[in-house]
């Protein structure tokens, strides 16, 4: 009798296979493909001529509520609340992770496999649904993940890197994230002033030099 994990990894392999033709688009010879083809069953990309002024995400979300709960719990350990800086889940990062891993594009499909496999492994480790762990348990879980990744375990390292990367994108492109990074822009002006004196000083550049 296959256990749950084996069934899941079988499913994931099937998913990976359905994504295979997409990976082939980079090679010569395998070129006649629908744009965005190979996603979740029936999922379409936004195509090569989407409305740019009224963006719309055409693909359905694939994460189940428990998976999303797990993503939220983990994302908040990767990017926790700290002072005025909100936690990942307060900035919609779980929704973004869902949007990302549900997308029918090659990078996102590779990430889907990494993330779903990682969630499955972590849940096994936790012995309980991750979304139901308390903050302390979630931190311990990520600490164990980190230790294994740091010791060179490949699947754990892959999950750590990709999950962290997707969370970072989801977090720091929001208005609150942008403000924390200190990006200032999109301000029309007649003249471009260049960096202010205190920045030039930090860069070690003489004004006008």
């Amino acid at each position: 009798m296959p256990d749950r994990r084996e069934t899941l990894s079988w499913l994931l392999r099937a998913l990976a296979l359905s994504a295979a033709p997409i990976a082939g688009t980079e090679r010569a010879g395998a070129r006649i493909l629908r744009p965005g083809a190979g996603g979740a069953p029936g999922a379409e990309g936004y195509g090569r001529d989407p409305s740019l002024l009224h963006p719309h995400i055409p693909w359905p979300s694939i994460l189940t509520p428990p998976q999303k709960g797990a993503v939220a719990r983990l994302a908040d350990v990767f990017l926790p609340e700290h002072g005025a800086s909100p936690a990942a889940s307060a900035l919609g990062v779980p929704d973004f992770v869902d949007e990302w891993v549900s997308a029918p594009y090659p990078q996102q499909q590779r990430d889907r496999i990494v993330v779903l496999q990682g969630l499955t492994d972590l849940e096994r480790d936790a012995g309980a649904p991750i979304g139901e762990l308390d903050a302390r348990q979630a931190e311990d879980l990520v600490a164990r993940l980190h230790a294994r990744a740091a010791a060179g375990a490949a699947p754990e390292g892959r999950f750590f890197r990709r999950f962290r990367q997707i969370c970072l994108i989801g977090y720091y492109t929001t208005p609150a994230g942008v403000a924390q990074l200190g990006y200032v822009g999109y301000q029309p002006s007649a003249r471009f002033a260049g960096p202010p004196p205190q920045v030039l000083a930090k860069l070690g550049i003489e004004p006008g030099g």
Binding site: T25, A28, G29, R31, I32, R34, P35, G36, G45, Y46, R48, D49, P50, L52, L53, P55, H56, I57, V77, F78, H82, S85, F96, W100, A103, Y105, Q107, Q108, F160, R161, R164, Q165, L168, I169, Y172, T173, P175, G177, V178, L181, G182, Y183, V184, G185, Y186, Q187, P188, S189, A190, R191, F192, A193, G194, P195, V199, L200, L203, G204, I205, G209
Partner: protein, 564 residues
């Protein structure tokens, strides 16, 4: 549809076709412009102020939109499933296309450099490739015109590899941004120039266009018309003459010859209705982009030209080039944790590193005979899907509060240096009609057989080393060590999207496909006006030269039409 007789049928509406339509309608000719893609209105469609957070996948590139969701490209990409192409076994070619009014000018990188005389005459110096059929001095007035028409900022530092423009051609460049100032300081330490880029953005109003307001990403296009797009700069005035007819979704597939040896007109397919049409004209100009124009010639077979129009010399399709390209990323501790400030500027390079070693190269002291320049990208850009690409390198496996500190610390502290070098024209680098592959409409497709030689690899090794030197001299650190072999660093041919050649211009019909004005030898009313005519392709990005060549060809045709 268009029953009136046209003076000129122009195929393609990008840099080349747009220039011809602009010049010829302005000179009184009736022009019919055939464009395979859809119509496009930058005034209404450009997502100027849309923010990353509102875009699917936060604007990350996908096969549907390789340069991000908001990028101006419509119906384009590296792979167009309806329009496949083949590559010879063991070779690679990347071919980025855009099927829209204005072609790839809607989102190009807008670096606009003049060739120098030694670029036009490189063959005479090293015996590789072929010379252009004119000198810099003969061509320079067309550069002057092109710069004024396009609107280019830049400066005239009097460098041996970068011809100065006469007064009145260039617009004042914007002051450098923080990362650019650092690289300039590095250049001073190395004794190498870092100077204002020549970029197709206006910093002062001209021709009813507003100046740049330093606030929105150029690659999305510019609804205020401050940067150069065929659809904002060339086509509106052409339309205003009342002499331009634009047919979109019109895929040209064959040029028909008349018994007298002149081109009679163009066959095209309406991509929407799948109907075939023929449109006659007194002259035909091909500006479908270099490889598409060559394909059109190869696919136009007749008793006079059994192997395609212009194939007599055996050179049609040969001498295909791209620019060489490779990258090195630097991380700059001085740029960590900077206080917030507006560093947008023009969303394109303000400065670049011109080819400083030309005197040394001319003297034969370098192991490669053609030059390169370096472009730089980076600084405090709007946070996007690639902002944290290097966090795994500089701060592996951090998480929690520490991760937030690291994200803030490293944000904006990376700079990418990017080589753009000359690839030598070699006749064995070619496109042919593939014996079996066809596009969705049954039109025979191209097959690419393009490889780099040791020249390009040795140049790339030098460029990689130089980029590392710039980064270190500027106080930065390499994010990853340089690959030991330049073959690992060089990007595949086509990847820089400067593909040119295949219908070389020259003075000898036995050694070229077109005459010095782009007229196909033996067919007095058929011109090739895009990058296909390039006999050699300097490291200087091709589009300014395409615009200058197309406007010179248009002037030649204008005179011919008047005399007829």
């Amino acid at each position: 549809m268009a029953a009136e007789p046209f003076d000129v049928i122009v195929v393609g509406s990008g840099a080349a076709g747009g220039t011809a339509a602009h010049a010829l309608t302005g000179a009184g000719a009736r022009v019919c412009l055939l464009e395979a893609g859809r119509s496009y209105d930058p005034g209404r469609e450009t997502p100027m102020f849309q923010r990353t957070a509102a875009a699917p996948l936060r604007d990350a590139g996908t096969p549907d939109k390789p340069f991000g969701f908001y990028d101006a490209t419509v119906d384009g990409g590296w792979e167009l499933p309806e329009e496949p192409f083949a590559t010879a076994p063991g070779t690679e070619f990347r071919w980025f296309r855009a099927r829209m009014l204005g072609g790839r000018t809607n989102h190009w990188g807008r670096v606009a450099l003049r060739y120098a005389n030694h670029d036009f005459k490189a063959y005479s110096r090293d015996g590789l490739g072929a010379d252009w059929p004119f000198t810099y001095d003969e061509f320079a007035p067309w550069y002057d015109r092109a710069e004024r028409l396009v609107g280019v900022f830049g400066s005239n530092p009097g460098l041996p590899d970068q011809p100065d423009s006469p007064p009145g051609c260039l617009q004042p460049p914007p002051v450098p941004r923080s990362h650019e100032l650092l690289i300039m300081a590095g250049g001073r330490r190395l004794g190498r120039p870092v100077v204002p880029s020549h970029t197709a953005v206006i910093t002062q109003p001209i021709d009813g266009r507003l100046a740049c307001f330093y606030a929105t990403p150029c690659l999305r296009g510019c609804s205020i018309r401050a940067n150069f797009q065929s659809t904002t700069v060339l086509l509106p005035p052409a339309r205003a003459t009342g002499r331009l007819t634009t047919l979109t979704h019109a895929q040209a597939y064959e040029i028909e010859m008349a018994p007298d040896g002149r081109a009679r007109g163009v066959h095209y397919l309406d991509r929407l209705t799948h109907r075939h049409h023929f449109i006659p004209g007194r002259a035909v100009m091909l500006g479908a982009s270099a490889m598409e124009s060559v394909r059109l010639l190869l696919n136009s077979r007749s008793t006079q030209f059994p192997d395609g129009i212009g194939a007599d010399s055996g050179l049609l399709g040969r001498g295909v080039m791209d620019s060489t390209g490779s990258n090195v990323w630097g991380q700059f501790p001085q740029m960590e944790n900077l206080p917030p400030f507006n560093d947008d500027g023009v969303w394109l390079p303000h400065v670049y590193i011109p080819w400083w070693a030309w005197p040394e190269q001319r003297a034969g002291r370098l192991p490669f005979t053609r030059g390169y320049h370096l472009e730089l990208y980076g600084g405090r850009l709007e946070p996007s899907a690639d902002t944290f690409d290097f966090l795994d390198d500089v701060s592996p496996l951090t998480y929690g509060r520490r991760l937030k500190e690291e994200a803030q610390r490293y944000y904006g502290s990376f700079v990418r240096l990017s080589q753009r070098g000359e690839m030598i024209a070699r006749e064995h680098n070619r496109v042919q009609i593939d014996p079996v592959l066809r596009d969705q409409w049954g039109i025979p497709s191209l097959r690419f057989d393009v490889r780099f030689s040791d020249q390009e690899l040795r140049q790339t090794a030098h460029a990689q080393q130089s980029m590392a030197e710039f980064i270190e001299a500027a106080g930065g650190k390499l994010v990853t060590p340089l690959p030991r072999n330049p073959a690992e660093a060089i990007l595949p041919p086509g990847r820089i999207i400067h593909e040119v050649g295949g219908a070389r211009t020259g003075v000898d019909p036995a050694r070229s496909v077109t005459d010095p004005f782009g007229r196909v030898w033996g067919v007095p009313n058929l011109y090739v006006i895009d990058g296909a005519v390039f006999p050699s392709s300097a490291h200087k990005n091709p589009t300014l030269t395409i615009v200058a060549f197309a406007s010179r060809a248009s002037e030649h045709l204008r005179k011919a039409l008047r005399h007829a």
